[in-house]
Every structure is written in structure tokens, then in C-alpha cells.
């Protein structure tokens, strides 16, 4: 057992795995489709298709890995944006987070489609594997929301939740005990609505469902819409006025 924890062979093996995923991502981007073609990947790598089976048991396994990594990539980008942003009493950090989300989606439309678009036909991602990475972005943004609340930047709206919704959000809150952020249902309601708007603008833009003239000013439209969404959530005007929108 004097051999190093990771042998040269293992390192090469690992490197090839990474290359396979990179090539797969690249092909998806170049072909403009969120599907995965094993033979094309092998071709691109100068390999026989069968050689891929040294590294993955099946096509599905590669897909699953790509999905996990896509979630992780957005998640990390958003986390970094939040970390780099000033954690002051403004909405700057939140804006930085969502703008980064948007940028990633526009820069990686196929990967975005893979995780947030129409489900890939004939394939269901194993929930136990993809759940955690899928939550990463949400957790990051939620964290900033919590900070904003605790800093007093937000006045929760007093419109009462309908009963059925309140219990549903209560359940969401309970489910989330594991994620260790103990939020009241009202906050969850806000978070979900904010999420839905975010999701809506980005989907509309990535999938081309915005009016054409808007596409020249889509960053501004996004910023404008997110600021309005925050205002609805009860973010104070000063916090919004003081917030700097990232220029990207």
C-alpha cells in the first residue's frame, strides 16, 4: 500500500472521463441540441464508440452526470457572484445573483435546456443524485433573501395567504428542515413567486418567446423585471434605488 492514493492510470482515467463530458457539452452546444450522441462524442475524440463503455456504463449515466454538472455550474456561478457582491443594505447582491443566472443560461442554452427545459424524452434523471445539485442555485439565492430579511431590507407583504396555500407552504418549510433553513411559509411564498418570475424571464429569453425588438434590450428588460419582482416581494425602495445592476 505504498502506492499513492491516486495512481497515474487513475488520473488518466479520470481525465478521459472529464474529456468525454467536455466533448459532449461542446457537441451539444455546436449542434444546438440538448440531446447526447455517443457515437458523435467518440468520433470527436478519435475513439471507437465502444471505448466509451470503459468510462460510463451507459448513455444515461453520461446524461445524469452532465445534468449534475450543469446544475453545479450555475450554482457555483451564482454563489461566486453573491460572494463577490457587496453585502450591504441594498439589493445589489441579489441582482448580481440573478444576472449571473441569466448570463449562464444565455451562454449555455443547451445545458440550460437540459436542466430547466422540456424533460429529455425517454429519460428521467435519478432524483436522489440530481436533487442536491439542483438545489444549489435556489439555496444560494434563498440565502441572500434571508440575509435581506434579517437586515431589515424587506417588509413582508401583509396580504394573507389563502389557507390551502399556507398549508402547502408550511409543508415546503417542513420538508426543508433538512436543508437547515427554517423559514416561515410567507417567506417561502415570496421565494417561490420570485423564482417563478426569474424562471419565466430567462425561459422566454433563451427559448425566443420575447417580442423581437426587446431582444436588443433584453438585459435591461431583465433588470427592470427583476427589480419590479423584488419590489413586489416587499424589498424597500431605498434598497432597490441603492442597488447597482451588474453590466454584462
Amino acid at each position: 500500500m505504498s502506492s499513492p492514493a491516486v495512481t497515474r492510470r487513475q488520473r488518466q482515467h479520470f481525465a478521459t472521463i472529464e474529456e468525454i463530458k467536455a466533448v459532449a457539452r461542446d457537441l451539444m452546444a455546436r449542434e444546438g441540441t440538448a440531446s447526447l450522441n455517443l457515437r458523435a462524442v467518440a468520433r470527436q475524440m478519435g475513439m471507437t464508440p465502444s471505448a466509451l463503455y470503459r468510462y460510463f456504463p451507459s448513455r444515461e449515466a453520461i446524461l445524469t452526470e452532465l445534468i449534475k454538472e450543469a446544475y453545479d455550474a450555475v450554482g457555483e456561478a451564482v454563489e461566486q457572484a453573491l460572494d463577490a457582491a457587496p453585502r450591504d443594505r441594498s439589493a445589489s447582491a441579489m441582482l448580481a445573483g440573478v444576472h449571473t443566472f441569466r448570463r449562464w443560461a444565455l451562454d449555455h442554452p443547451q445545458e440550460y435546456a437540459l436542466i430547466y427545459g422540456t424533460p429529455v424524452p425517454g429519460y428521467e434523471a435519478p432524483a436522489d443524485e440530481t436533487f442536491a445539485p439542483a438545489m444549489r442555485t435556489n439555496v444560494a439565492l434563498l440565502g441572500e433573501l434571508v440575509r435581506a430579511i434579517s437586515e431589515g431590507m424587506i417588509t413582508l407583504p401583509d396580504t394573507p395567504l389563502p389557507d390551502s396555500l399556507r398549508t402547502a407552504f408550511q409543508e415546503v418549510a417542513d420538508d426543508d428542515g433538512k436543508a437547515a433553513m427554517d423559514l416561515p411559509p410567507g417567506v417561502w411564498a415570496l421565494a417561490c413567486q420570485f423564482w417563478v418570475v426569474l424562471f419565466g424571464v430567462i425561459n422566454a429569453e433563451v427559448f425566443g418567446h420575447l417580442p423581437h425588438p426587446l431582444q436588443g434590450a433584453s438585459a435591461e428588460f431583465f433588470d427592470f423585471t427583476m427589480r419590479r419582482a423584488m419590489a413586489v416581494m416587499g424589498v424597500h425602495e431605498e434598497a432597490l434605488a441603492a442597488a447597482v445592476s451588474p453590466t454584462s
Copy 2:
């Protein structure tokens, strides 16, 4: 020329075309995929695949037709909902419209994916053919928005549009001269934001991106979210309070 405008043969031909589309829709729904398999359609109809070419020149032609009809189906459903709703000084009609939109999406997830989801790989719908039907739902909802404004149910928010956005929306308004509804940029901004929220909630629900516990109360969440979105648009509280949500 004493033959009737439409002969029996032509009627049968037309009926078969309709059957092909119906079977294609049915298969999409049953297979749970927004793609189209010619051989499967032929199989289902008890025909040879080649026979389909008597009715359509290619697979793409069928897809295009399905897309147009899907747009038309939602459009018509929304129009009817608006027509059936009371055109009073409440948001009832608008709520009826968007609830109908949601219902249609949930009832026809594959058709919804076909027109509003990730674009089908390797296929681009011919814009000149699909544009008009694609606008139908938007035009219907926009009409109700215009009515609401003219009835004084809405106070347009006074937050100024950033310059770049204003010119972009001005362009949208100009483009729209053909559609014969002459709206100021500010209204277009509202409409787009409303659309984006609508789009976001429905996408999230259809594609399964809402927290699980919410799925039991998703109609309420939808209603709640749309009402909030309307409030942001400046719809008066009385109009919202007086509005009856459809029970579906």
C-alpha cells in the same frame, strides 16, 4: 363544373388529414414526448408509412401543422373563456383567461412543450406560417388588458422606463401597428412583464420545477401569483377583490 365545391373524395382526403394529426397528437400525449414518429402514426392508423405521403410532403409539414393547431387551440380556448366571462369592472375576465391558458397547458403538456418549450432539435417552424396563430393568445389577453385600462381599472405605475427599454418598447408598439392595436410603450412593458410571469408559472408547473408540496395546491398558487402580478401592473384593489377565480 356542376360538381359540388367539395367532392366526396376531397372530403375523405380531408378527413384522413385530420385523422393523421389527431393520431399524431394522441401518440405524443401517450408517449409523453413532444416529438413525432411517422412510422408510429402509420402503424396506429393501420397504414403503410409511405401512404402518409399522399397527405403531407414531409414530416416537417406535419410538425408545422401540429404547431399551428396547438397555437390555435390555446388561442381559441382563451378567447372563449374571455368571451364567456363577465366584462365587468373586475379582473374576473383576465383571471378566466389565464386560468384557461394554464388548464390547457396542463391538459396538453406535449402540445404545450411543442410550442412553448425547448425548440425541437433540427426543426425550425416557418415563421410566416406560425406567427399569426402564435399571436392569437397574446392578442386575446392584450385585448382584455386594453379593455381594463379603458374601463379605468388600472393605474399605470409611474416608475419611469429606462431609456433603452422605452425605445425598445416603442419599436414593439410600432411593429404592432399591423395588428391594429395602438398601445403606448408603457403598456407594452406591463404586458410583457405580465406575460413573462404567466409563462414562468405555467412552465414551472408543467415541467415540474415547483417544490413538490406545492403541486397539491398549484391552482391556488397560480391564482395567487397572477393576482399579485396584476396588482403590480397597477390593477386596482377593488377590481382584484371583486374578481372571481374560476374553479377548475
